[in-house]
């Protein structure tokens, strides 16, 4: 003989209360690892460094010397001939891209309601980021102001004649 079992209204399932909670509110259980913490930390640190890099960039390009009137192809070519500015611009490119990507990633996490939407938006975001970072890095390191194609100098007023 078994006593009649009366289920208490909030029990059931492996987890207390889980069968009472609508599926969209049920917590899916978190993920281990420190990724979110590192992402949070990176946002703060890269933000501080970017303030220095970007204001340095703007000052040197727009204010120092002849200021905004000095900017042309030759000015950029001159800057990238110097390893100091190559490293400066490279750091700015990578930090700004990763900082921005992480920001958009959190916005997608906050605003996308469906997992599929979230996935697709992130695929587009990461693809765009990868292309821009690789392209930018290649430009900084392989930039040649006086390219010679098939032995012919491409037009450019400031290049020394061969």
């Amino acid at each position: 003989m078994s006593a009649t079992q009366i289920q208490s209204p909030r029990s059931g399932g492996a987890k207390v209360g889980s069968n009472r909670i609508a599926p969209q509110y049920r917590r899916t259980g978190g993920s281990k690892g420190n990724f979110e913490m590192l992402a949070w930390l990176f946002m703060r640190l890269s933000g501080v460094v970017l303030v220095v890099l970007i204001f340095g960039h703007l000052t040197v390009n727009l204010l120092v010397g002849e200021g905004i009137h000095a900017i042309d192809f030759g000015f950029v070519a001159g800057k990238w001939a110097d390893p100091f500015w190559q490293v400066w611009d490279l750091a700015m490119l990578w930090l700004a891209m990763l900082h921005g990507t992480n920001g958009v990633r959190t916005i997608i996490n906050d605003y996308a309601e469906k997992d599929a939407t979230r996935l697709w938006l992130k695929i587009v975001l990461y693809a765009a980021t990868t292309v821009i970072i690789i392209l930018g890095t290649m430009v900084i390191f392989t930039f040649d102001p006086c390219p010679v194609v098939n032995g012919v100098q491409l037009p450019g007023g400031f290049c020394p004649s061969p």
């Binding site: 993920s31 979110e36 996490n109």
Partner: protein
Amino acid sequence: MTAELAEPASKIELPAHIGGGGDIPSFDVHLRVRRYNPEVSDESTWDDFHVTMYGTDRVLDALHKIKWEIDGSVSFRRSCAHGVCGSDAMRINGRNRLACKTLLKDLDTSKPITVEPIKGLPVEKDLIVDMEPFFQSFREVMPFLINRGHEPTKERLQSAEDRERFDDTTKCILCAACTSSCPVFWTDGQYFGPAAIVNAHRFIFDSRDDAGDMRLEILNDKEGVWRCRTTFNCTEACPRGIQVTQAIAEVKQAILSRKI
């Protein structure tokens, strides 16, 4: 034998010249209450009520008047009605507050006062929401004292300074005003929410508790403290004046200093 019993003072009609605190001003209030009844319709609707209330009345009194005198089907939770039990958190004029702590005279009575259920939790009827998802994350942070040392013969002693460290977060009454004001919680309900973090903070910074590391590990989750965007909605919504966003920031710092 008949004895002349003195009436209680409150029942004696006071002569006019004695006077009290003066007449309490009365005014007409227009309340727009969000109604939802799943047995009738899946859609929520607004119901309008006009009641005459007094300067000492709160939104809860207006809801009582509506329920008791106009429409008995209006449903809402309330228990103590004095801002202690945390049952009657609702969205009043777009802000999360306790109906029992919001005086009508402090609101703009020239316009309709909107009363809605708190957002982000499933509505069961009218102003009543299912609090179970809220308590789910509350339970996950283990909001109870865990002490691995020997049990003392008397109470567990603590210095006044150690007690002060987490004093602010002991004030929580679990009304869910903060969690249901958080835009990150509204998205998918996966974020732990401010209330769970506040209650974890209460034990993480308690010198008598030994499970702080476990709680910090739980809150280092993908849906943990790092989803906080410091919009301060929770701090603004808290009827107990807890500095919720600051408490979350302190938990973030505790996780960082433990990991790095």
